[in-house]
């Protein structure tokens, strides 16, 4: 995590990021739920403004209620309890491939100005510096959801002009690229980082800083970004998590495993 110049606060940046993720989900949307912070964001959204959101999990789970106990992974047994549907991965992901998923969330190790993500090979495939776990479902979520949201740590070596390997396609090399390669829809809509929130210019498809987290300056963001970052004229500050949101989050992550300090 990036070091922050923070004043005293009663929330963690992970909590702030989860809260921001939750706010990206509208009620009744179909959400393809990933692991970790995105999973918490979905649970938080369902508990607040999006009670009728439906979650689709690549393990072959669809559920529209909360699990009865905190879960650490999508496959934890409470996540099966009273699921709406338990089925095969190919069928659950069929919903995604059809275009039936409104929004998905993806974590990343390396991202570039057009929102392409690398979670496979740092340094490229011939001179592998670091082998990361790989796509999992991320490439599919980035390819097939109607929009996807990236959540990651904001560090200069992670925010690079061009990723070493495209695991999960963003906007490629700019506007028109997705159509050109044949992706049916979608693209990244938002990047939620440890420092701020970024969106994509609808003409150039380049990442643009939209808000900075409390205690974070514009300069801190640009210094931690590996290309000359565009900044929205009406740059705002990311809203803090409310007390209610923090209270709810504590129930989902009682040990602070994902959102603790």
């Amino acid at each position: 995590m990036t070091k922050h110049n923070t004043k005293k606060r009663d929330w963690t940046f992970a909590q702030l990021m989860v809260t921001a993720a939750a706010r990206e989900i509208a009620d009744k949307e179909v959400v393809f739920v990933g692991m970790r912070l995105p999973l918490l964001g979905f649970l938080l959204a369902k508990s607040t403004h999006a009670p009728e959101a439906v979650g689709v999990y690549e393990l072959g789970i669809v559920r529209d209620t909360l699990a009865p106990e905190p879960i650490m992974t999508m496959g934890d047994l409470p996540n099966l309890y009273r699921a709406q549907w338990l089925a095969d991965t190919a069928d659950a992901m069929g919903l995604l491939q059809q275009g039936g998923v409104d929004v998905s969330f993806i974590g990343g190790a390396q991202v570039d100005r057009f929102g392409n993500l690398n979670t496979s090979y740092i340094g490229g495939t011939t001179n592998v510096e670091t082998r990361l776990p790989g796509s999992g479902g991320a490439c599919d979520l980035a390819s097939l959801a109607n929009r996807h949201i990236i959540i990651m740590s904001h560090e200069k070596h992670r925010f690079v002009p061009r990723v070493d390997y495209i695991t999960s396609p963003g906007f490629g090399d700019g506007d028109g690229w997705r159509q050109h390669v044949g992706l049916p829809r979608g693209g990244p809509s938002t990047v939620i980082t440890t420092l701020g929130i970024l969106r994509f210019d609808s003409n150039t498809r380049e990442m643009v800083l939209a808000s900075v987290h409390p205690g974070v300056t514009e300069e801190m963001v640009t210094e931690n970004t590996g290309w000359p970052l565009q900044i929205l004229p009406d740059l705002t500050q990311t809203p803090e998590p409310s007390e209610e949101e923090l209270a709810i989050l504590l129930r989902f992550d009682p040990q602070g495993y994902w959102t603790g300090k």
């Binding site: 549907w85 919903l95 709810i248």
Partner: protein
């Protein structure tokens, strides 16, 4: 319905999708629709829903299914159908169906000739969100002549010839199930045919159910759920809604009804009589049960019960 999480309770009241059969057909089967039915092949055939389609005199429908037993023939006989995309249209225990024959032989019905596997793969392609699926069947057959949804292609990996089967994405699928809740979650069991694929491939799903049960009954066994409830448009309570086809757990096949239908559909005049008696004179399932008669109902009831072992979804 309350979603409970620790001490928090969220009051979300999902909208009930329970409606009458006429309302469900009126809303989700407009004229010109493509309608998938008869997806378990010989069982759980949604006869009640098809009869409502006839009563509402729908026009220019496209019927989709692998084999239909006598259901497609009835809807064709009532002049609701413009096109059929199917592998087989007939009467399983007697052979040819007469309305279908008359319609094809008089060139008043368009036919897309499938095999059971190409229908299954076309619906699976629709379910999986891909525009086609490759198959190894039908090569060299004349199905290619009477089915523009089939083309030959070459495998990009092995260079062998393959049949490309175009996806089928019905406007609406009509499925009869054993039990459903009012929100669209349902259990079905037995031989499921292409039902699950067809539900995923279709824009709207109409469920007719032997029983409407508490959501609790369904959600205690999510592996048995036929398709995600959030995608279901209408739930209709209609006991005996698949008669004369069999419904596992509820009633056996009424063979005599299929034999009778053969005789009662030999001419258009005979069919008119059949339609008046078994379709137009029926307004609800109670009417139908009266027409069937108690003796027949008790003869078709299950005589032997074989109950599944429970499984635990605890944590």
């Amino acid at each position: 319905m309350f979603l409970k999480f620790g001490h928090l309770e969220f009051d979300t009241v999902p909208k009930s999708k329970l409606m009458t059969l006429p309302e469900s057909i009126d809303r989700f089967v407009p004229d010109g629709s493509s309608v998938a039915m008869c997806l378990c092949l010989e069982s759980l055939i949604p006869f009640a829903a098809a009869h409502e389609i006839i009563r509402q005199r729908k026009q220019n429908l496209t019927l989709i299914g692998p084999i239909s037993d006598i259901l497609f023939d009835q809807v064709i006989g009532a002049a609701c159908v413009r096109k059929v995309r199917a592998a087989w249209v007939g009467n399983v225990i007697t052979g040819s169906c007469y309305n279908f024959r008359r319609a094809i032989e008089s060139h008043s019905l368009e036919m897309e000739d499938h095999s059971n596997l190409t229908v299954a793969m076309a619906l699976r392609a629709g379910a999986m969100g891909v525009p086609f699926m490759p198959a190894r069947t039908a090569l060299g057959s004349d199905l290619f002549k009477t089915n523009a949804s089939l083309k030959t292609i070459t495998c990009p990996f092995t260079d062998i010839p393959l049949t490309a089967v175009a996806a089928i994405k019905p406007d609406v699928v009509v499925v009869h199930v054993q039990r459903a809740d009012e929100y669209g979650s349902a259990h079905a069991w037995g031989n499921l045919g292409v039902t699950r694929d067809a539900c995923l491939a279709s824009r709207h799903i109409i469920l007719t159910a032997e029983e409407i049960v508490s959501p609790d009954v369904i959600s205690r066994d999510p592996n048995r759920v036929i398709t995600p409830g959030f995608r279901v448009s209408a739930v209709v309570h209609y006991p005996w809604g698949a008669h004369p086809s069999p419904v596992p757990g509820y009633y056996n096949r009424d063979h005599q009804a299929f034999i009778d239908y053969r005789n009662e559909s030999k001419t258009p005049e005979l069919f008119d009589g059949w339609q008046k008696r078994w379709v137009d004179n029926i307004q609800c399932y109670q009417d139908y049960l009266i027409a069937l008669g108690e003796k027949r109902i008790s003869e078709l009831a299950l005589k032997h019960h074989v109950m599944s072992e429970t499984v635990d979804y605890g944590y």
